[in-house]
Symmetry: D2
Subunit: 353 residues, 4 copies
């Protein structure tokens, strides 16, 4: 079959639901297996009622590798929790290799290159095979396009990380000119869907509706990804202070980063540098006023703006945590690896209001 | 002690939190025991962080009856779940009787007079002692003021019931003139706090934020209370069709009831009848335009409006499910029984916006 | 040109924005002119920032009929306010006729067939040319498919009307068996985007956030459309009592309709009748539990459910007021008229959460 | 009369509504005049429907100074817009002085001590009489208690300023030990009621619901107040980078401030310093986890927390913009000036959920 055969692990979660939602509009894929140990035999829309009418498929216990083998290319997306993915991957690795399949992992199990960092930050990571880890490319599409294009294993970035890294990359790679220390306060706000589908006291509707608060203050695990992607995995030069907050919305991440440059600049200059840095990136829109969540929700866009006053700088970015922050970027990476147009299946605007 | 001694069972739930919140402003009470088997020794604000600074009290395992005995009057509020209250009450009944204490139950265990109805609607009700049941008065303050004033045991009404009963009582008791059947569509919308504090999939923030849906369509248990309070416990003449819906707000109930009278009337006439019916009821405000949730949230008010067109009638009521729909009405009932001004501790307006 | 040439009047409003958003994914159209007298020369995304990157077009003062003439087919959508459309149409009627263009009107100016009814309900309607009025077909796609397919002028239904009509049509056309009177309480809840883009006190964020209230109680103008579509324009047999309410959401309509049948039925029976009635309608999904707004927002679906208890019936429908309730249905009608697959450009699921 | 006579200018706005709401529970005041040129003769609840039943008063054209003269003390609150207050004050100054009245201004007209700064930041300020300006005390109750107690004219702080100043004062006054420069990123998030009652496109419900964005990035006028209150009106040592954002809630401000100390500290140390700094301040609660908006909304509390990691520090504060950020603090200042307990009329908890 000419199309790309798709299997999804962890089929009942928000990540899988979002992959399936986006794939409705992707002309080059066919969904072969949606795996969920807890829902075998139930139809897809039992867990994802918004997909009612779109898929004539039930959850299954295992990937149908025989059927996958009939496709020219096949991609396995894992939307399993942190700490589980690595183990599951080890089990199916032989079949993956036989099929020459692509594996895109939405969890954090393979995001951190340094084994020591991964162990320290994610003690639940069970599989620590360094050779396997080395085959993974950190899938921040805009920054690692070439590596991604030739990868077989993708560690898809975290949602808060994606928003923070895209906001800061031009500063770190284009503007900051030496190895001097730079302090960056990263104030991240996220909708509640980032916590997944399992009910929890802190994500109870009555607790979050109309509320706002910070959490994991200066100890959120995405900070390690951010530093790694900015080229400073141990935070030697870049002194991030990362604080996530909970917005009373379902989707959306908005990051505001505060820093002081060693020289004066202007908003126009910085907007220009940012525009050039992202000129080949269809999903990064540099905007003149503040990004607005409602312009990115449901889309794969990351809208970014930057303002300078003397040597003070504020960078703002906005994206949808389940799309550019998860399933959308995963599909963007699939497109890159499979030689498709980067925007295939992803080129749609937000509802706006 | 001259004040009223208060004990609360089920201390960590929303009901208890709301009693404690209101009691901050009640000049005649002293909180003696807040019982919670799961949180013994923890401070009140561990479960109710908004009360930080207001109570210097920890949760306890049992009511301190000795201390209660030092008060001239004492009131025990039970905010335990349905099916548990009756059992707990049986255990402490001897002490209650010794103290001549008042017992106000926020659960549904004693709301339905007819044992058969209670059993059918709430099969989890364990204690079905008819004598004990007979001592309970259904605490819809506006309709049962005299009975309440001389009661020792109050079955506090449900939240959806309170809004529906107050909306319909003048129709049934003042306007409807015979035993002909009347069909009433009761469209109720409620905030999510009515489901309590325990996380559940259907009350997960991501599931409810920006969402709206019906639930327990034509099978919600409050319908039995509504019929009973309207004088027709078996629904022989009043044919209610009761459908609750979930609003994406934390608090607030809005009921719209649809009915056809056997004669033509006018909005002015009906507003007049409603105003007279509730003229001695400080917490019922008859308003000319639609009630608005934001005018009642956080208060003990029930705002009601009514519109006629020919023989068609629409009645609307709005209240806060945790106040007039639960803890506020319970305290209103306590005030009535204890001979206080009905509004004591409850006379405060909504935030408005 | 093989594609369909599109012009849009009233280009800065929510209706035009929604047409443009959906057209991004429609493979058979080309946008020729987006007319806005107030924004001539500004880019589309000045009014619709979520469309940033999708259109390289500015607002213009007039439709470019010369360019439209190069297309095999062309469609003019009017998203002008009530009372203005008819006048504007009269001005461009000669060009329309020359081009054999299709005209789809999102306003209420041509919705009511009976001139007397239109005048009574919409006194602002300026153009009352009965011959022109007669050329319009009421564009409720599911009910008037054949008439629409051969129409040149479409009066696109109102949003509250669409949800109500789709909920009630099977009752009226399949189940109700005679000319007896039937009382139907129609409780409609709508998001705030239905009021359009112009700021108003009642649609101020601080006023509506977390609020809920009814408006235009028993006097909303969509009731006339509902009656007309149900075959009883003067409400002789069908006694609707229609009350719209404002949800604290941006999008979404949820209708709950209450009625009593002259005989007993069952939920299963009614679900079956509804499923059959809509079996050829890809955008109507009959669901077993309550519809949920989050399954329809952003889509052209109308989800419907129905529950019976004895002879009591409750029907519920949910749709997106800006899609199935406006721009989506308009495009569905365009597809029907132009001989395209009905779902072209419209076959996408909701975000779900 | 023993009570305090109260007059309010600008009676229909949110500020006046909030004063009136709080005064319902204040035992020492009597409302004499609520002035609104646009609503003369209409009842208070025409503009503030949530106060229905609480005041038997109409809006008037002018303060009734004769009646005010019968009170031992009287206080005039001005809730007029910036740029208007100073002019209005000049008109009534003779009567104020005759009555020895207290004047508490909720606008920004007298907040900035330095005439040059006021002129630069608020060019609309019409009255620039330096002598009059000098009589005003900046009413940040916790920091200026003694000055306030002996003041007659209070410039009540801005809402974003109050949250920021209370968060940073202990850092600046207790922890920072020299005149070295310190960079502070102040990320402020506010509900939409801060923009007042007048409908505006950016505060339209459909625009803000579920949305989030920054505004006036590095150019919000409250930054000048913050610097002034921290003792550095020209920002010579304290390099604030202040960015406000709009939350999709009606009320509430949450500030997260990012800074690097010249030395390492610990969360416990800093919490201790903050607790001591605010030990005599009943409305500042130092909390161990993140403040939560839902614990402060509707109250005069400012909840503050602080976290350190090495020399990095994050301070968070939360308050209700209309209470501690406006009307509540104004009443707190009135209490201080009039020799009442600081908490009179203000000692009530949030709804919590």
């Amino acid at each position: 079959v000419k199309k790309i055969g798709i299997a999804i692990l962890g089929g009942t979660g928000y990540g899988a639901g979002e992959l399936l939602r986006i794939f409705v509009q992707h002309p080059q894929v066919e969904i072969v297996s949606v795996v969920s140990s807890s829902s075998v035999g139930k139809c897809i829309s039992s867990a994802h009622p918004h997909l009612n009418g779109f898929y004539n498929l039930d959850f299954v216990a295992k990937i149908d590798f025989e059927r996958l083998a009939q496709f020219e290319k096949c991609v396995i997306f894992s939307a399993l929790p942190h700490g589980v993915t690595a183990e599951e991957l080890t089990k199916i690795l032989p079949q993956l290799e036989e099929l020459n399949a692509i594996f895109i992992d939405l969890s954090a199990d393979f995001r951190l290159k340094e084994l020591a960092v991964q162990k320290a930050i994610y003690p639940e990571t069970k599989e620590l095979n360094p050779e396997l880890r080395n085959r993974f490319v950190f899938g921040l599409s805009e920054l690692e396009k070439e590596k991604i294009q030739s990868a077989k294993f993708i560690a898809n970035p975290g949602c808060l990380s994606t928003a923070s890294i895209l906001a800061l990359a031009p500063i770190v790679f284009e503007i900051k000119q030496d190895d001097s220390e730079i302090a960056i306060g990263i104030d991240a706000k996220t909708g509640t869907s980032g916590a997944g589908r399992t009910p929890q006291p802190n994500f109870h509707h009555a607790k979050r509706s109309g509320n706002f608060s910070a959490y994991k203050i200066l100890e959120h695990r995405h900070e390690a990804e951010i530093l790694q992607a900015l080229g400073d995995p141990y935070g030697e030069f870049i002194k991030t202070a990362f604080v996530p907050h909970l917005l009373p919305t379902t989707r959306g991440i908005f990051v505001s980063a505060y820093l002081t440059l060693p020289f004066e600049s202007s908003t126009a200059q910085l907007l220009d540098i940012y525009s050039k840095f992202y000129q080949d990136c269809p999903f990064v829109r540099i905007v003149e006023n503040s990004p607005e969540l409602q312009n990115v929700i449901g889309t794969n866009f990351c809208d970014i703006s930057i303002v300078a006053r003397g040597n003070q700088v504020v960078v703002m970015s906005a994206l949808d945590n389940l799309v550019k922050g998860m399933a959308g970027q995963a599909i963007q990476n699939m497109n890159l690896i499979c030689g498709l147009e980067e925007t295939t299946g992803l080129w749609s605007p937000a509802l706006g209001i």
